[in-house]
């Protein structure tokens, strides 16, 4: 009597084939791009790790929300570009005196304009934000950990900064309600006080 392979036999042959294929593995062409992911994560983390940076970024968004369109979008466009210019100066080895004082002053003044709902002309607002962004970029944009990718670090750094502006704009949407306006002014005052503390630390 001729035996026919049953389902069990088919499974064994499949398993044997799979084992044979696994056993005949070729050399892997592992392509490792060292520092790519770490660079991105370092850049993403860096702006969030400094309270001074976070407060300034969010204040820009809050102020933009208070001023409304087009400042709401222009300020977050201005800040990253001016910040990158500051980072570029730092990378080029061009010293910027009083960087920490500038960062502390940015918190004081940005907090103040939020607290007072200051309505500066658009160009003046952009210049104020851009001026202080240079200090932030100079201080923070160049701190690449060794062995990590400068490109992905920069991508993460800029994305995190822009996202902080976005958070500020979203929070600033409470401006449309009376209690929200008061809350924003209180937040602005708190940022100013924090800025004074930063200034004290920078000078001391």
């Amino acid at each position: 009597m001729k035996s026919t392979p049953g389902p069990c036999g088919s499974s064994w042959s499949l398993l044997a084939t799979a084992l044979l294929l696994l056993a005949s593995t070729e050399t892997a062409f592992a392509h490792v791009r060292h520092g790519q992911a770490q660079g991105f994560l370092s850049g993403l983390r860096h702006p969030v790790s400094g309270v001074d940076h976070v407060l300034a970024m969010i204040s820009v968004g809050l102020w933009g929300a208070q001023l409304g369109v087009p400042a709401k979008w222009l300020l977050p466009v201005t800040f990253p570009m001016a910040m990158a210019f500051g980072g570029f100066l730092g990378l080029a080895g061009i010293a910027l005196p009083g960087t920490e004082v500038g960062i502390a002053m940015s918190a004081i003044l940005l907090g103040l304009v939020v607290a007072r709902e200051a309505r500066l002309p658009l160009a003046a607002a952009a210049m104020l934000v851009g001026f202080f962004a240079i200090f932030h970029g100079h201080a923070h944009g160049t701190e690449l950990p060794a062995g990590e990718s400068g490109l992905t670090y920069s991508i993460g750094f800029v994305m995190a900064t822009g996202s902080l502006h976005g958070v500020g704009i979203l929070l600033g949407e409470v401006h449309r309600w009376q209690c929200g306006r008061a809350a924003l002014q209180a937040v602005g005052a708190a940022v100013t006080i924090a800025g004074v503390v930063f200034l004290w630390i920078a000078i001391a």
């Binding site: 062409f29 392509h31 791009r33 979008w73 977050p76 466009v77 201005t78 990253p80 570009m81 910040m83 990158a84 210019f85 980072g87 570029f88 100066l89 730092g90 990378l91 080029a92 080895g93 061009i94 944009g141 160049t142 690449l144 990718s149 400068g150 490109l151 992905t152 920069s154 991508i155 750094f157 800029v158 994305m159 822009g162």
Partner: protein, 207 residues
């Protein structure tokens, strides 16, 4: 207006540093991905996994989209053909060196123009697409030759460039809401900022 005595030399040396850092030819790391699925898929994966190529493609797609459908069509074909031509030139001319800062310049220029959101003539966009395609294509082609891989990878790269451009510019063109245009501008400002930082890194010899 006269500069204070110490500022002018520093600015001049900084400027020279930028120019030298941008144009100085350095051996580049060949970032070619091996998928195990053949050179075409290697090329596709390379483009999708390489921010130095992917970001300018998406940014120029956005810029073209902001300038309307005719500009989108012009950039679509010009950039793709230029990328292929540059890639073939890079592949066959051998000698894998590249001006280290040029990809950073494409980030800076494309991102800056997108953020500015000025109406550009079709000719200007065409020249920009030509330059970007030739530079990035040349770097890709030279990297493929340097790694001893098949030129067919270029087909994968260029096909992906074409598809991303078509989808990206088409998406931006079809957006009518003002906020969508603003999102494109903000993304452009981020790209320009990244380019400026890349330029600084290239001066320090960091990729």
């Amino acid at each position: 207006m006269s500069w204070p005595p110490r500022v002018a030399p520093r600015l001049l040396s900084g400027l020279l540093g930028v120019v030298a850092g941008t144009l100085w030819p350095t051996p580049a790391e060949a970032h070619l991905v091996t998928t195990g699925l053949g050179p075409i898929y290697d090329g596709i994966s390379h483009l999708l996994l390489s921010p130095e190529d992917l970001v300018p493609v998406l940014a120029i797609a956005s810029l073209a989209g902001l300038n309307g459908a005719p500009a989108g069509r012009r950039v679509l074909f010009t950039l793709t053909v230029a990328w292929l031509a540059g890639g073939l030139a890079g592949y066959f001319t051998g000698g894998f060196v590249r001006p280290a800062g040029l990809p950073a310049v494409s980030f800076l220029v494309i991102g800056g123009l997108t953020a500015a959101d000025r109406r550009l003539s079709s000719a200007v966009l065409g020249v920009l697409a030509l330059a970007v395609g030739l530079v990035h294509g040349w770097i890709n082609g030279a990297a493929i030759a340097d790694a001893g891989r098949e030129a067919l990878s270029l087909v994968g790269i260029v096909t992906t460039v074409f598809l991303l451009l078509a989808l990206g510019s088409g998406f931006v063109v079809s957006r009518r809401a003002a906020w969508a245009r603003l999102v494109a501008r903000i993304a452009g400002s981020w790209v320009a900022a990244i380019g400026l930082l890349m330029l600084g890194w290239s001066m320090r010899g960091v990729s």
